[in-house]
């Protein structure tokens, strides 16, 4: 019995080894393990074995069966693998052919810049708010310490609708509106369209965008303003960016400053972008004028704050090295597709 099993097993393993394809493997499987297969026959003849020997014989049969099954499976796998390798050889493609693209639209570079700015300041706890683009003189000028006949009104070349209603020349009126609402503390960022009577050319547009920031709380200092804008510059323009605060004048802040950053193109060595100076003027800022706080109903003895305004187009043009502002309003697909 034992010999017979050994014989079946040896022959089976040998023929499996010889098998060339999946159907031959199947034939072998049927011939040995199938209903009428050799090994099945042996199992059927178990009844002739003495009862005390049956467990032992049973075990032998199972062992033979297991080793044949394992061999069948291994052989089948290797045959399939070989077939697949052959198939893949016929399936070689030219991977250098172009990909199939779905047309994607592109974000306007000005929009990318504003979103980058928003991201930085939202991370610092600022809420993005908006204000009207057609505005009362009161918010655009009066509450910002720019009374009637102030030369700043000329300087800014305001578009008027009526005597009291105008196209806002800055995003600062949003400051006044938010302060007037009286909910303290304030940390806002207000991007938006502004208008000034400048003829269209490579560096001017009668319509452009500013991003206004305002913080009002107890104990806000100019050092906080410096720290905030320093952090902004590093996050927006790169870790190694340095800032330079220069005294300046704005009617609604005191003290006031203009801020230069080290040129992001050359890192401060001097290049075409920074006109050789190593620095780029990027924004105006200052401590909110106590009179402005008062006019907006905030007690300057208790609260202080700072404000800053960034010219968005300036940032966009510098960042993307766009040499003509008119491109931003032309919307030529060949321009937009680059962003």
């Amino acid at each position: 019995m034992k010999e017979k099993l050994q014989d079946i097993r040896d022959k089976a393993l040998a023929s499996i080894e010889q098998a060339k394809d999946a159907s031959m493997i199947n034939d072998i499987k049927v011939a040995i393990l199938g209903k009428k297969g050799e090994l099945t026959q042996v199992l059927k003849s178990m009844k002739d074995v003495a009862p005390e020997d049956r467990p032992k014989v049973g075990q032998l049969v199972n062992e033979a069966r297991q080793s044949i099954e394992e061999k069948l499976e291994a052989k089948l796998k290797s045959i399939n693998n070989a077939v697949r390798v052959e198939k893949m050889k016929r399936e070689i493609i030219d991977v250098t052919l172009p990909g199939v693209k779905k047309i994607q639209g592109h974000r306007h570079p000005n929009q990318i810049a504003v979103e980058d700015l928003e991201r930085v300041f939202i991370g610092m706890g600022y809420e993005v708010v908006r204000g009207p683009e057609i505005e009362y003189d009161k918010y655009n000028f009066e509450l910002l310490n720019i009374p009637a006949n102030h030369p700043a009104k000329d300087e800014q070349d305001t578009f008027y609708i009526t005597k009291d209603i105008l196209l806002r020349t800055q995003t600062s009126p949003v400051q006044a509106r938010i302060m007037e609402q009286g909910k303290l503390p304030i940390r806002i960022l207000s991007p938006g369209r502004v208008f000034r009577s400048d003829e269209v050319d490579a560096t001017h547009s009668p319509s452009f965008h500013q991003v206004e920031g305002l913080v009002i709380d107890k104990n806000i200092t100019m050092a906080d303003l410096k720290g905030t804008l320093d952090q902004f510059a590093k996050e927006f323009f790169g870790e190694n960016t340095k800032t330079k605060f220069r005294p300046h004048h704005f009617p609604f802040t005191e003290p006031s400053a203009e801020v230069d950053i080290t040129c992001f193109k050359c890192g401060g060595k001097g290049c075409r972008v920074c006109k050789g100076s190593g620095w780029i003027e990027i924004l105006g800022c200052g401590m909110v004028h106590p009179h402005v706080l008062e006019m907006c109903g905030i007690d300057p003895e208790v609260y202080s704050g700072f404000a800053f305004g960034i010219g968005l187009e300036r940032v966009t043009l510098l960042k993307y090295e766009i040499d003509d502002m008119r491109l931003l309003y032309e919307n030529d697909m060949r321009f937009l597709n680059q962003f």
Partner: protein, 808 residues
């Protein structure tokens, strides 16, 4: 504002800094330097030489050979200049040196011209004698220089061979240009800038000591002054000078004016120019002989008056223009320009000097109305300190005496009804430190103030602000003075402490972000268009004459008609951009814009208009109505309200193709509209392609959108699918068929897909074939065929009412 360094040094003698250091420090203390020009940037190795001997060139008639003593040695120089003679002292550039330009006065080369020894017609020459043009200047500023030829130092120049010729000519100077902010009126003067420079570099500031000796007499015997409009003329001072002697100014004055780019005319004109530069106070000189009645009257002009200014132009006046008059007539426009009738000529014997303070705003508005801006007016518009007038007046008279230009009559006429005096502010160092975030000591602060002429009274703890600093009115203003001299760069950098706030965007902004992503995902790029446009766009867009859209807000002072109204419909901007792309032969263009239109509540505006945010989309090239519609459908779905949005056929939009436009609605809410641009409108924009547009009301979108989602479970029970193919009148829109199917299908109808629309041979004339696939499914059981059958019967019956039959 420009200042030559040399002039500043007249008041800050210890100012001895490198130009780069000067520029940086001044900028950081608040006088923003825009640029500077070194007059000697290309002048190298130029010394004074004395011509010892002149001989004829052996081989050239027009050349001479000079032996020139340049101090350390005598060098041979060949020149063609006709004007030199032996013993002349001349500027000599030595071998290896550099000059600014050629003798022809052409524009100066950036790098100058290098001078090397060489041979002229065989004779060696070891340098060059220079003309004033070669030194980068001109006869305008060195009138003693010859028209053609070498500059020869005047006998009284006090130079000797070997001296630095550039220094001797005063060309070792730099002119610095500043951007002065409008609040710092005092800085539009040499004295003001000198005070800033002295404070910045901690050097002594020595302003001129002004004394007028006088020569007897009494000014009141010569002139009286009446100011009728004291609101527009806050101060008027007058002095009289007799025995006027017109002549050239001294060299030092000519040099300073030259450094500032002002050409010397004569002593009298130069003095008024000099004082205006020095003090920032314009002066005016009248010939007393031309003043009728020995009287000056300052009053407003009358509407319709005309006046001839000294440039010979006749100008129209009005009642808000302030005039200077004599006893009979108008003789000048106050603060702007004198009259032809009182002009000073070389025959003048007795002079009337005017130094006044006129209201800056009035001067500014007057210059605009008259259309005449002058150097004097430019000073007045900044709003001068009235106390400056008397200082400048006396300074001018002092110079008259010093220059021997005339005799100053004793006394001053000074009409100054409401004198301006120093204001006092409390010294609050703690508050200033708290505002700045610094820890500057009291003593340090007081030192900064002292440098600026702000005096401290320890007993009262008050600071006296000089009247020339009209910008300092409160603690914050003083804190800025502390800040800028402590140095903004020395202020620490900290972050705001206190209550934390949540950074966020508003809901509407979040929806806009989603809309951008969807537009861009479908090939639309972000556009940016102007908010104002021409009223002609309404015709271009075929908007009827009585349409509400034509009620647009007009700008009262637009840049031109093309930018004169605020847009009420957002299409023009994007269509203009589409046209730009089309004209530039870009194959496809897909653009979107998110921006406001401006809808007035009434016209003319009495309150702010509604600013309505619109999403505008436009495209041409690949894709049609249904591509655009698909983008919108996908957008609405993603924003959580896709179901039950209808695209209702309409013909209301005159600028769209009458048969290809739809209103987009959800219930009663108007989401917007879309369609093909009317071919005539497209023509008006010069676009010969089919343009598809959509305008979406973002306020409605924001209201409808939701980020709430509830998981519904994935269907457990099998679905039943049925197809229906039908023959329909062409005039019936599939929207009507879908409405019937949806109504009959109810909750069990899971999905409805249109899979075929066909018109042609196999369908009768005037008919089309439409085929739908419907999927039915129940959430709680397996649907029986019979149930679905009943629904289908119902649908067929209802469709039958529209005259629709199933296709055989």
């Amino acid at each position: 504002m420009n200042t030559p360094i040399s002039w500043l040094k007249a008041y800050v003698p210890d100012l001895d800094v490198d130009i780069n250091e000067f520029v940086d420090a001044m900028t950081l203390s608040g006088s923003h330097v825009e640029g500077y020009e070194k007059k000697d940037k290309n002048l190298e190795k130029i010394v004074v030489g004395r011509i010892e001997k002149i001989e004829k060139h052996p081989d050239a008639d027009k050349l001479i050979v000079c032996q020139v003593n340049v101090g350390s040695e005598t060098v041979q120089i060949v020149t063609g200049a006709p004007n030199v003679k032996e013993n002349d002292l001349v500027p000599v550039v030595l071998d290896g040196g550099r000059v600014a330009g050629g003798h022809d006065g052409e524009p100066l080369p950036e790098e100058g011209i290098k001078i090397k020894k060489g041979k002229l017609r065989g004779i060696e020459s070891f340098g060059m004698m220079c003309s004033i043009e070669e030194l980068g200047s001109s006869r305008d500023f060195y009138p003693e220089a010859p028209e053609y030829g070498i500059y020869v130092f005047p006998e009284d120049a006090g130079v000797k061979p070997g001296d630095d010729a550039v220094a001797a000519l005063g060309l070792n100077d730099a002119v610095v240009e500043y951007e002065i902010t409008s609040n710092r009126v005092d800085c539009f003067s040499m004295i003001g800038m000198a005070r800033e420079a002295a404070a910045t570099f901690e050097k002594e500031f020595i302003p001129p000591v002004v004394t007028v000796k006088g020569s007897g007499g009494n000014v009141n015997d010569y002139i009286s002054v009446e100011v009728k409009d004291t609101d527009l003329c806050t101060r008027y001072t007058a002095r009289v000078v007799t025995d006027i002697k017109i002549g050239p100014s001294p060299k030092w004055m000519r040099d300073r004016l030259a450094a500032q780019g002002i050409r010397s005319i004569n002593n009298l004109v130069d003095i008024t120019n000099y004082v205006m530069e020095e003090y920032g106070q314009p002066m005016h000189a009248y010939d007393l002989a031309s003043i009728a009645g020995n009287k000056i009257v300052v009053r407003r002009a009358k509407d319709g008056d005309t006046f001839t200014t000294l440039d010979g132009q006749e100008r129209k006046m009005d009642k808000d223009v302030l005039m200077i008059c004599d006893g009979e007539k108008e003789i000048g426009i106050a603060g702007i320009m004198g009259g032809e009738n009182s002009m000073v000529t070389d025959d003048i014997k007795t002079l009337l000097f005017e130094a006044a303070c006129f209201d800056g705003t009035n001067i500014r508005l007057s210059t605009k109305r008259i259309g005449l801006m002058t150097d004097a007016a430019a000073k007045f518009v900044k709003g001068l300190d009235p106390n400056l007038a008397i200082e400048a007046m006396n300074r001018a008279c002092q110079l008259i005496e010093e220059l021997g230009c005339g005799k100053v009559v004793d006394g001053v006429v000074d009409v100054y009804p409401n004198p301006v005096s120093e204001i006092e502010l409390a010294f609050e160092p703690d508050k200033m430190n708290r505002l700045l975030g610094t820890d500057v000591s009291d003593e340090q602060m007081l030192e900064y103030f002292d440098r600026l002429g702000i005096k401290y009274n320890r007993e009262t703890n008050m600071l006296a602000i000089p009247t020339f600093r009209q910008d300092i009115k409160c603690m914050a203003d003083l804190a800025e003075e502390v800040g800028r001299f402590y140095g903004y760069d020395n202020i620490p950098t900290t972050l705001p402490k206190g209550e934390a706030t949540a950074g966020k965007k508003g809901y509407a902004e979040r929806i806009e972000d989603e809309v951008r992503i969807i537009c861009e995902g479908n090939g639309f790029s972000g556009a940016m268009c102007y908010s104002f446009e021409s009223p002609k766009v309404f015709d271009k867009l075929l908007i009827p004459a009585d349409d509400k859209a034509r009620c647009a807000i007009e700008i009262s002072n637009p840049l031109g008609e093309d930018f004169s109204i605020m847009r009420t419909i957002p299409l023009n901007g994007i269509l203009t951009s589409i046209a730009t792309n089309y004209n530039r032969r870009n194959k496809d263009a897909r653009l979107y814009e998110l921006a406001n239109v401006y809808i007035p509540k009434s016209l003319p505006l009495t309150e702010l208009p509604d600013e309505k945010m619109k999403l505008t989309m436009a495209m041409y090239g690949s894709g049609d109505f249904f591509d655009l519609k698909g983008v919108l459908e996908e957008m609405f779905e993603k924003l959580g309200f896709g179901k039950e949005v209808t695209f209702k056929p309409t013909g209301d939009h005159t600028f769209l193709h009458p048969g290809r436009q739809a209103d987009i609605e959800k219930g009663k809410l108007q989401i917007g509209y879309m369609g093909q641009l009317h071919p005539e409108a497209a023509d008006n924009y010069g676009i010969k392609a089919e343009v598809y547009v959509a305008v979406i009301n973002m306020d409605v979108i924001t209201m409808l959108s939701t980020f709430d989602r509830k998981y519904e479970g994935i269907a457990k029970f099998p679905a039943v699918t049925r197809d229906l193919s039908m023959v329909v009148d062409k005039s019936i829109f599939v929207g009507q068929i879908e409405a019937v199917i949806k109504k009959c299908g109810g909750k069990l109808l899971e999905k409805l897909t249109l899979f075929d629309v066909y018109e042609g041979e196999q369908v009768a004339e005037g008919k089309k074939s439409v085929a739908y696939s419907m999927t039915f499914r129940a959430k709680d059981k397996t649907l029986e065929d019979a149930e679905v059958g009943k629904i289908i019967d119902n649908i067929v019956a209802e469709l039958g009412k529209l005259g629709i039959t199933l296709r055989a």
